[in-house]
């Protein structure tokens, strides 16, 4: 089998060696989807990441991990034991021909093998090494362990999430924290690649997953920096009316997301819903005549002193019920699909709480040709994948091949590209190097 004819992509000239585990797999996937030649280097027998579920037809098998499939598209795959001396030499030969090396081992591990950036730079001064770790290559927490929930919490993404009767809650299932780190690492790789055009030299990109999370928050670090305030999970004493308004609403077959916008935005965004309800005979005079511009605007001290806190609380509670009761009834009289269609038609800022099934049925995603059909001949099937992460007029990215099988491209890479003989490969196999 020869290398597949590659369509010219944004990153076609580049070769990437991917030594990562689940902390970094998506980085290489994206560079591959952008056209780079990405080689996933696995340990003999296959990476441990292949044991992460879910699995194809729930059959636990390293060749059937859907997690592996999802984040290894557009990569070729070889096996190599870099803890063995011969393996290290082979990796160095591969590094000679590589532009980018991505890894997510614990800090210091590769240095210990003589494969750290200082070593690889000697082999190939132009190489860019991207290290993806929870906290970075150095510093007081460099040795700390960070499964998703730990990285997520330490990145500030969890403290204010969830209902108050439980502990704070993370997003369920696979690690979100690692995905943020992986994509940001791809950004770091590209910045270094850009810089290389002027300096001619590669460099070491040290990505901290925690930093990638801590840089992406809303009203969290800003509240502390600008107001020395810790934003609580829920503020039961809040005098802000909008903070108490409902966001998740049950409908006939699920939930929708809607909230009454305050002030200026409210004047623009809330009336379309009331008009839509009215067109179905489900609005009332209270809703029709509501003063949205004044809604949710913090009162002045003078206004506040006109009533006691109890009076104010009572008045807002009554008003809230008068707003929410008919709205809730209206949503309950429709399905999610009806509400989405109506929202588009009436230009209402309302969205369904989609699950994966609803996402797969989305008319919008279908119309944009988002989904990619990827062949898996050994499973005798074709699987639908999330497609290009962006549409591009000249060089659209996309999945060039399904995730590699264990050692699938050993021969192609070792024999045809590194020029090893069949005997050499055989003896390396016997020695457990590949």
């Amino acid at each position: 089998m020869t290398t597949k004819e590659r369509i010219e992509g944004m990153l076609s000239p580049y070769r990437v060696l991917d030594l990562t585990d689940e902390k970094g797999l998506m980085c290489g996937k994206l560079l591959g989807d952008l056209g780079a030649d990405v080689i996933k280097v696995e340990r003999p027998g296959g990476d441990a990441t292949r044991n992460i579920g879910p699995f194809y037809h729930d059959e636990v098998d390293p060749e059937k991990s859907l997690f592996w499939f999802a984040f290894n598209t557009s990569k070729r795959g070889i096996t190599l034991d870099i803890e063995k001396a011969e393996g290290r030499e082979i990796l160095k030969r591969l590094v000679k021909g590589a532009d980018i090396v991505i890894e997510s081992f614990a800090p210091g591990y590769l240095d210990g093998l003589g494969l750290g950036y200082a070593d690889l730079e000697k082999v190939n001064p132009g190489v860019i090494m991207v290290s993806i770790t929870p906290f970075g290559q150095s510093g007081p927490y460099r040795g700390y362990k960070a499964p998703d929930i730990v990285a997520w919490g330490m990145g500030g993404q969890m403290y204010s999430v969830g209902p108050p009767e439980h502990p704070p809650v993370q997003i369920s299932h696979h690690a979100q924290a690692y995905l943020h780190g992986s994509v940001e690492a791809a950004v770091g790789a590209m910045v270094a690649l850009f810089e290389k055009q002027s300096s001619g030299k590669g460099q070491h990109v040290d990505l901290s997953i925690q930093s990638s999370l801590a840089q992406a928050t809303y009203m969290l670090t800003a509240s502390w920096d600008h107001g020395q305030t810790i934003r609580p999970r829920q503020d039961p004493e809040s005098t802000r009316e909008v903070a108490r308004m409902q966001r998740v609403w049950p409908c006939k077959d699920g939930f929708v997301m809607w909230f009454f916008f305050p002030g200026e935005a409210g004047k623009r965004r809330n009336p379309p819903l009331i008009e839509w309800m009215d067109s179905e005979g489900m609005a009332n005079d209270f809703l029709r005549e509501f003063d949205w511009e004044a809604f949710g605007v913090p009162p002045t001290p003078e206004e506040l002193l006109e009533e006691t806190p109890d009076e104010r609380r009572q008045r807002l509670q009554t008003r809230r019920e008068a707003l929410e009761e008919p709205t809730g009834k209206f949503f309950m009289s429709h399905t999610m699909a009806e509400l989405m269609d109506g929202a588009v038609k009436h230009r209402v800022t309302l969205y369904p709480l989609n699950n994966t099934a609803a996402i797969l049925e989305s008319a919008q995603l279908a119309a944009r040709g988002f989904w990619a059909e990827v062949e898996h001949p050994e499973l005798d099937t074709t699987i639908t994948y999330p497609g290009a992460f962006t549409w591009a007029s000249e060089t659209p990215p996309g999945i060039s091949r399904r995730a590699p099988l264990i050692g699938e491209h050993n021969e192609e890479v070792y024999q045809q590209e590194l020029g090893m003989s069949a005997e050499e490969i055989q003896s390396l196999k016997q020695a457990g190097v590949i």
Binding site: F71, P140, G153, I171, V191, L193, Y218, G227, I230
Partner: protein, 510 residues
């Protein structure tokens, strides 16, 4: 180390809220020149959204605006005016990249679509990042990142089993999209360098977010399984969860000088009857009854966290401080020192301590042994109910309760440090304060850079998540609205004083 990696690249941003601004902020941190095209007729709503510096609203005082726009220049144009459009096009003609995240179709309607812009700069790279992409039946459906979080499935998979879905924190896709956007722009720049061709990138925030669900999408396609919310549980670890820890003492500094301030204070505390009493109604009266008043004040503050109290008081521009060290700290505070003679109540009052949490994850048997050692090998850990991963998962509720009885005795910092030193994964659920002031690792990496803002003075914003061994990334302050009008028009576009004045009079420059 002095040269920044993207020096020489010129970017024009038509951005608002978070996704677009964070995209150009990363480019700016890496050395690109970023000109943000803003306006006064149509102000970026992020500029008019709190939290504001010291609780005082104003277009140059928004915390999240200043966070996400660090390192850029700002020009205020009226894009409803043809001359405003003309200036925008002049800026595009000298640029490499245009980034916009308005609603689908808006740029085109203003005459600033890709086809318009490539006429003034044939090899321009333009990235649009609206909610659902520029094409398709929902292209121009209005919404923000909050709604998109629901649409893209994250509400549905966050929360506790059998309960209503919970919203993740903030506009979640806004945290995802800028990463993909910068990646696409830098890849397109490389392609342009090799071929001379620019291009149009039509990125859908919805589609980006779905990439973070990929394994669950495949599970649905292949196994027809619809992923739902599972709280904090994990099939690979037990214990795996979040445990409540002991909190430190907290204080709030409060100072009431005028009778007007006292009235507001009374209003806020009106559930307690004593505040209405006549002997407290004047400053003299309050001073004469100082010790009683302080005791009663503390009864009220003890019921509330410092965060609640600062929120309440700040809304009415009352001076208030969160304190770590009580009176000592307050004495160093200039504003409070100045008020000391003329205010009562005035002082540091202790508050209810706040929620503190630490996540703990035990994956292997070895880690379980270490975990048990750290918590002092209590009897229950020897029970067969907890000896294997499977049995721990079966008895998760009981185990979590027992662990909670241990963690509550220690601060979150102690729990994390003790666990990690023994090789067990643990981490504080960090607040804004933890991230910016307490986390030793983020401090070590210098993630939050101190910047000098023309209006609000010193503040901090997050720099890049990656460090480069041979080049520098660094932020500058976010701009005030229209801060660089003159510089951009005169120095970059070569206009004369007269021309600029004329544009201001006509309203094209705001």
């Amino acid at each position: 180390m002095e040269k920044k990696p993207l020096e020489g690249i010129k970017v024009v941003g038509f951005t608002w809220y978070v996704a677009g601004p964070q995209t150009t902020k990363t480019l700016a941190a890496c050395g690109a020149e970023v000109i943000s095209i803003e306006g006064r007729t149509r102000v970026d709503p992020q500029r008019t959204t709190g939290p504001y510096k010291d609780g005082e609203s104003g277009v140059d005082r928004s915390g999240d605006f200043n966070q996400y726009n660090a390192g850029k220049m700002s020009i205020a144009l009226n894009l409803a005016d043809p001359k405003g459009i003309e200036i925008a096009k002049k800026l595009v003609s000298r640029a490499d990249v245009v980034v916009e995240n308005y609603a689908g179709g808006v740029m085109k309607r203003m005459g600033l679509g890709y086809e318009d812009l490539r006429k003034v700069k044939p090899d321009i790279i333009m990235l649009s990042a609206c909610m659902q992409g520029q094409t398709g039946p929902h292209a121009d459906h209005p919404g923000t990142g909050y709604q998109l979080t629901a649409l893209s499935g994250f509400y549905y998979i966050t929360g506790w089993p059998g309960e209503e879905p919970s919203p993740p924190d903030g506009p979640y896709p806004d945290y995802i999209v800028p990463r993909f956007s910068v990646l696409a722009i830098l890849a397109a720049l490389d392609y342009r360098r090799r071929t001379g061709k620019g291009q149009y990138l039509d990125l859908s925030q919805y589609e980006n977010a779905i990439h973070f669900l990929s394994p669950l999408i495949l599970d649905n396609v292949v196994n027809q399984r619809v992923a739902t919310r599972v709280g904090n549980s994990s099939p690979y670890a037990a214990p795996h969860g979040v445990y409540r820890c002991r909190s430190e003492n907290r204080w709030c500094g409060i100072s009431v000088a005028t009778d007007e301030e006292w009235k507001i204070m009374c209003w806020l505390m009106s559930e307690t009857e004593w505040v209405q009493e006549e002997r407290f109604s004047t400053l003299e009266g309050r001073k004469a009854n100082k010790s009683e008043l302080d005791m009663l004040m503390e009864e009220w503050t003890m019921e509330r966290s410092p965060g609640e109290i600062t929120n309440m008081l700040r809304r009415f521009n009352m001076p208030v401080r969160r304190l770590e060290r009580g009176e000592v700290e307050l004495a160093e505070d200039a504003e409070f020192a100045e008020r000391a003679a003329v205010a009562m109540p005035h002082g540091a009052y202790s508050c209810k301590s706040e929620d503190r949490w630490c996540a703990i994850v035990v994956q292997t048997d070895e880690e379980w042994q270490s975990f048990c050692r750290v918590i002092g090998n209590p009897e229950w850990t020897k029970d067969a109910k907890f000896s294997t991963l499977k049995s721990r998962q079966e008895n998760e509720e009981e185990m979590d309760r027992l662990i909670g009885e241990w963690t509550i005795n220690f601060s979150a910092e102690e729990v994390m440090t003790r666990m990690q030193e023994a090789g067990v994964a643990a981490g504080i659920l960090e607040t804004g304060q933890d991230l910016m002031d307490k986390d030793a690792q983020l401090k070590y990496r210098g993630l939050f850079e101190e910047l000098d803002h023309p209006e609000i003075g010193k503040y901090r914003a997050a720099g890049t998540a990656f460090k480069l061994s041979k080049s520098l990334t660094q932020l500058k302050s976010a701009p005030t609205l229209g801060e660089h009008n003159e510089y951009i028009l005169k120095e970059l576009l070569g206009m004369s004083d007269e021309e600029v004045v004329q544009l201001v009079i006509e309203g094209a420059v705001e």
